[in-house]
Symmetry: C2
Subunit: 221 residues, 2 copies
């Protein structure tokens, strides 16, 4: 079981029994989402911005416009912190104190590099789109020179990372078990609904299989 | 229409037409979620951590253990950046370049204060629980002295904030409209499912109305 080494940066201090440094576990949490929150330092203060991403091996790709302050600040700093969180449920305990959530979260600490090579950059853009809807890159018009040049793509190489996972029921104090108070878990899930086609489509253009598959894999259970 | 004043910190630089500084709009986005991503600076690097929150007026409450590094770092810095994001849909365009997401996000910049007053602290804890499931504080056992003293509650007073909202269809280039390529929007929503009661409950303890109401308001459409 390959793990990220534990350092001051990625060590999970609170709730260490929920901590996980296993690379496969971390990758599976990263692959289940395409929205991350990136942190960067601007004039001494941390700023947090949501953005799309994709993973390839031990790197994360993000993209934005050439003038994006977050992207430029990350490039300037050379390091990035990225958080990915899935909310899986509300844990409603008998006591206020033991209320919690079921979740899977990952914190990444990585080094930032601008992707200059054209082939590598185009591949990264394909990864970002395919990470959202697998296989959909092959269905769309690829970037022309103007669009390609207007896009900044950064690679964040994962130097260290950690996951925190809570996936269980209520943990109340033993002496609270006989109280006439309800406790339980409310499952939470992010779901997709049937695609709404653009109104300007030529008549014979149908929803691609990749999009249908995405919806069917993410629809409400 | 009351707005946050625009400063270097909260000014939306990319996609300014999606920017919104209206306080009611920002508050409604904050009230629709209870999971935020907090940024703080640790040894010169930004770190991003997901946590629960509640809003009361122009303040955000977060809580954690007395030794929580994020909480202590925020207190030490005196300032916090908080991001709240709702993903509402995938915008799948004809061109890779015009792919986007429908979302509502808020960035807050605030000053951090530890809540020492007992009444104020208990009220903040009630706000955090009720922000998750409205009214549920009245159903549970409140913190005892030991639990209360083991909890650190911080107030983040919103000094400035901004929202970004995208809530529309595909924006492709005009010349791409006749291409035989599908485009459309896949709606995305975070939904709740029926509560799963703890197995150790006394027989006559039923799911509270507050929990049922939460589920019914957040179930899949």
């Amino acid at each position: 079981m390959a793990e990220y080494s534990i350092s001051e940066l990625n060590k999970v201090k609170r709730g260490p029994k929920r901590a996980n440094y296993d690379i496969d576990t971390i990758n599976s949490i990263l692959d289940d989402s395409f929205l991350c929150h990136v942190g960067y330092v601007y004039k001494g203060q941390a700023i947090v911005i949501p953005t799309a991403y994709a993973r390839k091996g031990d790197v994360i790709y993000i993209h934005g416009s050439l003038k994006n302050r977050m992207m430029l600040s990350l490039l300037d700093a050379g390091v990035a912190s990225v958080s990915v969180t899935h909310l899986d449920g509300l844990v409603l305990a008998r006591s206020a104190f033991h209320h919690s959530a079921n979740y899977r979260s990952v914190s990444i600490f990585g080094s930032v590099r601008k992707i200059d090579d054209s082939d590598e950059k185009m591949e990264a853009l394909a990864y970002i789109l395919n990470h959202m809807v697998p296989g959909h890159w092959d269905n769309v018009r690829h970037p022309n020179t103007k669009e390609f040049n207007a896009t900044l793509v950064l690679e964040i190489k994962i130097n260290t990372a950690s996951a925190k996972i809570r996936a269980e029921g209520v943990n109340d104090e033993q002496e609270d078990h006989d109280l006439p108070i309800w406790a339980g878990v409310v499952p939470i899930k992010q779901v997709a609904y049937d695609a709404i086609s653009d109104t300007n489509l030529p008549l014979d253009v149908k929803v691609p299989e990749a999009v249908k598959l995405y919806v069917s894999k993410n629809k409400s259970i």
